[in-house]
């Protein structure tokens, strides 16, 4: 029963966080200098009438408080509004963008986890030797480099070999599913690799330090003393226990991934949620901005919650 009340507490806390973040987002964008109407009405002969008309149309003639209540009411009905920029429903645009983001982010993250954990384990096992140092140095390097810089370096390095723009070739003549999948795969390589490289460093460093901790434990010493193979010691004794913080980190970072892809999506013109957020900021498209930030907030909070629950599940010492 304690577990259920903990769950209820965590979930309600998460919902509260989403509500607060949504509210902050709503007002934050309105504090930004510049607005959509001013952009649209900065034309010669723009009469005060036109400005007033546009403000009315976008609901910007109402007080921020009224706009906010209206926004909440519509949101409760699942309506995220109509984009100022292209007059289309925000929800459809966001769903489409999310579907574009997910495969890229997912592949990038999985690759990052695999390489990161492997590097971390080896670096811990080889601690003190040059092999271990190389592994750690690379991890620190990729952890430190700015994402957009790495994206550009890869883009320039693979110019002509791999596509640098969007997620499909609009001029593709072969219309078969196979050809389309290959095309998508080719477009995925650079953005997903950039994401994997920028993420793997963190996983590697955390895994390494967790591994070092467990490798020093008595039960590992016992295992060594029993003459078990290093492979077995690492896999069955050390890594299992070291995975605890790593799992939490993965869950936590997944939440930020959607937001973290903004830079990558912009460099590679990948039509995902990050790219949509970037465009919405430039266009002062409030409904679209609110929509994308709501999705980002929701994903961060959700994965935080999952991390919390997972932690408790994985480590029996933590009681709910």
């Amino acid at each position: 029963m304690r577990g259920w009340s903990y769950l209820a507490k965590r979930v309600s806390f998460s919902l509260m966080t989403i509500f607060v973040a949504t509210t902050l987002n709503f007002f934050l964008f309105r504090v930004l200098p510049g607005d959509a109407v001013r952009n649209l009405s900065r034309v010669p002969h723009a009469s005060p009438d036109l400005k007033a008309q546009l403000r009315r149309q976008f609901g910007l003639d109402k007080s921020p408080w009224e706009q906010y209540l209206l926004y909440l009411r519509e949101l409760a009905h699942g309506n995220m509004g109509i984009s100022f920029a292209d007059q289309k429903p925000v929800r459809g645009a966001i769903v489409e963008a999310l579907w574009n983001t997910i495969p890229m982010v997912l592949i990038g993250t999985i690759v990052a986890i695999v390489i990161g954990v492997a590097t971390g384990v080896l670096a811990a096992w080889w601690r003190g030797s040059w092999k271990g140092s190389i592994g750690t140095s690379f991890a620190i390097f990729f952890y430190a480099v700015p994402t957009q810089w790495l994206a550009l370096v890869l883009l320039i390095a693979f110019a002509g070999l791999l596509p640098s723009h969007g997620m499909s070739d609009p001029y593709l003549l072969d219309d078969s599913t196979g050809a389309k999948l290959i095309d998508l795969g080719r477009h995925l390589v650079l953005p997903a690799t950039t994401l994997a490289l920028t993420l793997y460093g963190e996983y590697a460093l955390i895994t390494r330090s967790a591994m070092l901790e467990t490798l020093g434990e008595d039960y590992v010493l016992t295992a060594r003393a029993k003459g078990l193979l290093p492979r077995v010691i690492v896999r069955r004794y050390a890594l299992r226990n070291a995975m605890l913080p790593v799992t939490t980190l993965i869950a936590l970072s997944l939440g930020y991934l959607v937001a973290g892809a903004i830079l990558i999506e912009t460099v590679f013109s990948w039509p995902g949620i990050g790219y949509a957020a970037y465009q919405a900021v430039v266009e002062r498209d409030y409904p679209m901005l609110q929509g994308t930030f709501l999705v980002l907030t929701f994903s961060v909070v959700l994965f935080n919650l999952i991390a919390d629950l997972l932690y408790a599940r994985l480590d029996p010492r933590i009681t709910l």
């Binding site: 200098p33 034309v43 002969h45 596509p163 460099v267 039509p271 430039v282």
Partner: protein, 561 residues
């Protein structure tokens, strides 16, 4: 992004009818034995922001409308001085008093769905823009002195004016004519629907149009695809179609061109010139219709830092700017030194409009210091001059479209100003925020800002750029707070000067006035760099590049080798 932001949009929007261009060289190809077929892949960093002609403001929007909608005229970019050439109208004529303009509309033209396209179509579409010129259609500017737009029969369109109109062709020629049967409902009532109409292809059917191409596919912020329009009334294009892909990052754009993912790009940054040259691509350079400016707040009622209104201070500032260093270092030589608000590349009606007789003050730090010493603003202990009790320390509103070359230009200016005891710092913002920082709002116009750096991409006809400096333009294109009744009177006068030579005399005077008052110090004029794959030939260049909103000649004549 909006390749040069709001400013660019600004112009283009207003322009509506962009005028011509001068100095358009380029190669044209006889269609005779040129290879047919193929799809031209164009890359852009500007992109389409909206396909609705009452909303979109990017340069690419205008170029796309020209490709898919009919216009009365186009500009002939193959000829220097750019004459107008017929499109839907085969000829045009002014009355003696220059108050009536008659277009003869061609026979047998149709919309892509078979609906007839004649003088009544033009009457309806231009009429809507005229009717809502103070509202939703304000961006098309069909208003000045127009009294009526009438189709007297299927082949004759008559426009009447209350006064002689020197800018009549400029204001009407390139405006897209929209299909009534598609837009009629949106244009009903108060015309509010014009701004919210979603003008995009739905399903597999191309959008109804009557330009040389039809829009078949559109993905916002990413891609637009076009195929040749079989019912186009003009010269048949040689290609089967073309695509326009948007790259938000210029390095990615150049890389894609070099890697063969796309065939042609306009507006290559000077820093990438060597990259494209080494990539076996055809590179074409020429003077562009664009300039970079330092804005000095000229609102006479500005409450703070009023020393900036002192003409000697402004002159000293110009003397402390090393334009040559900006051209060489910031633009890597791909620009020229600026002087007046009408760039040398701007010409229309067979007339060049730039005033090259203006005596530009040169780079002269000692002279600038002397001039400032005379104003009595002496240097303080820290080397910064003190004016009316406060140090001459200012923030420059810096529109982020200027980043890159503009940052380097800023550093050169900052260094020059330091030597004359003026300290400046850079405040970067996106174009929307920069405009707000400059203008403030209707109840605090041009009150708070001191200096700004931005750009202009003017029309070839000088009217738009000249209008941007009038009192009437406060709150829309005027971004300096300059307002001078004498200047405004000249602006009206040139609008009625139907003889280009006489008009030039007035415009020269206006350029001199603005130069002397220095609401702007024009830093540099741009040079454009276009590049394309050597597999293609036949591009027709202009001061806006090969993909422009002057004419569709480039897209009609380009072909595979």
């Amino acid at each position: 992004m909006k390749r040069r932001g709001l400013r660019l949009r600004a112009i283009l929007t207003a322009l509506a009818l962009v005028a011509v261009l001068a100095g358009c060289g380029g190669s044209s190809t006889g269609a005779g034995d040129a290879k047919r077929g193929g799809v031209l892949r164009i890359g852009t960093s500007n992109g389409i922001d909206s396909l609705n002609p009452f909303v979109g403001i990017n340069q690419d929007d205008f170029a796309v409308w020209l490709a898919i909608y009919p216009t009365l005229l186009q500009y002939d970019t193959t000829k220097p001085g750019m004459p107008y050439k017929g499109s839907l109208a085969t000829s045009w004529k002014f009355s003696e008093d220059h108050k009536t303009l008659t277009f003869t509309i061609r026979d047998g033209a149709t919309w892509s769905d078979g609906t007839p396209l004649d003088a009544t179509s033009a009457e309806w579409s231009l009429g809507v823009m005229f009717k809502f010129a103070d509202g939703a259609a304000g961006n098309w500017g069909i208003k000045d002195n127009v009294t009526s737009i009438k189709a007297t029969d299927a082949h004759t369109l008559v426009i009447t004016y209350s006064a002689p109109a020197a800018t009549a062709l400029y204001a009407l020629g390139n405006t897209p004519i929209l299909p009534k049967h598609v837009w009629e409902e949106a244009a009903s009532g108060n015309g509010k629907g014009l701004k919210t109409f979603v003008n995009e292809p739905s399903g597999d059917k191309p959008m109804v149009g009557a330009g040389p191409f039809l829009l078949t596919k559109y993905q916002k912020g990413e891609l637009a695809m076009f195929k040749t329009n079989p019912s186009w009334y003009g010269d048949k294009p040689l290609i089967d179609g073309w695509g326009l892909q948007t790259f938000k990052n210029k390095d990615a754009l150049v890389t894609a061109l070099k890697g063969g993912e796309i065939d042609a790009v306009g507006g290559i940054p000077p820093t990438a010139l060597n990259t494209v040259k080494s990539g076996g691509l055809v590179v074409d350079e020429g003077p562009a219709l664009a300039m970079r400016d330092l804005i000095i707040n000229s609102n006479p009622d500005k409450p703070k830092n009023r020393e900036l209104l002192n003409l000697d201070v402004r002159k000293a500032m110009e003397m402390a700017i090393d334009r040559k260093a900006i051209v060489d270092t910031a633009w890597l030589g791909k620009a020229s030194e600026g002087s007046t608000i009408i760039p040398p590349a701007g010409a229309s009606d067979g007339q060049e409009w730039h005033n090259d007789a203006i005596d530009v003050v040169g780079f002269d730090i000692d002279g600038a210091n002397k001039l400032l010493d005379q104003t009595g603003y002496a240097k303080g202990a820290d080397g910064i001059r003190v004016a009316d009790g406060h140090p001459m320390r200012y923030e420059i509103v810096f529109a982020d479209d200027e980043s890159g070359a503009g940052d380097r230009a800023f550093q050169i200016i900052q260094n020059g100003f330091k030597q004359i005891g003026i300290e400046i710092s850079q405040k970067k913002m996106d174009s929307s925020a920069a405009w707000e920082a400059i203008y403030c709002d209707d109840d605090c116009q041009y009150r708070d800002f001191d200096l700004a750096m931005w750009d202009w991409f003017p029309a070839a006809d000088p009217d738009f750029m000249l209008a941007a400096m009038t009192c009437d333009s406060w709150g829309d294109w005027n971004d300096s707070g300059y307002c001078n009744k004498e200047y405004d009177a000249l602006h009206q006068e040139q609008k009625g000067a139907t003889d280009p030579k006489a008009r030039k005399v007035i415009i020269d005077k206006m350029q001199q006035m603005v130069y002397d008052a220095r609401p702007y110090i024009i830093l540099t004029y741009d040079e454009r760099i276009d590049a394309w794959s050597s597999k293609w030939d036949g591009f027709v260049e202009s001061s806006q590049g090969f993909f422009n909103n002057f004419s569709t000649q480039s897209l009609e004549k380009v072909h595979l080798k």
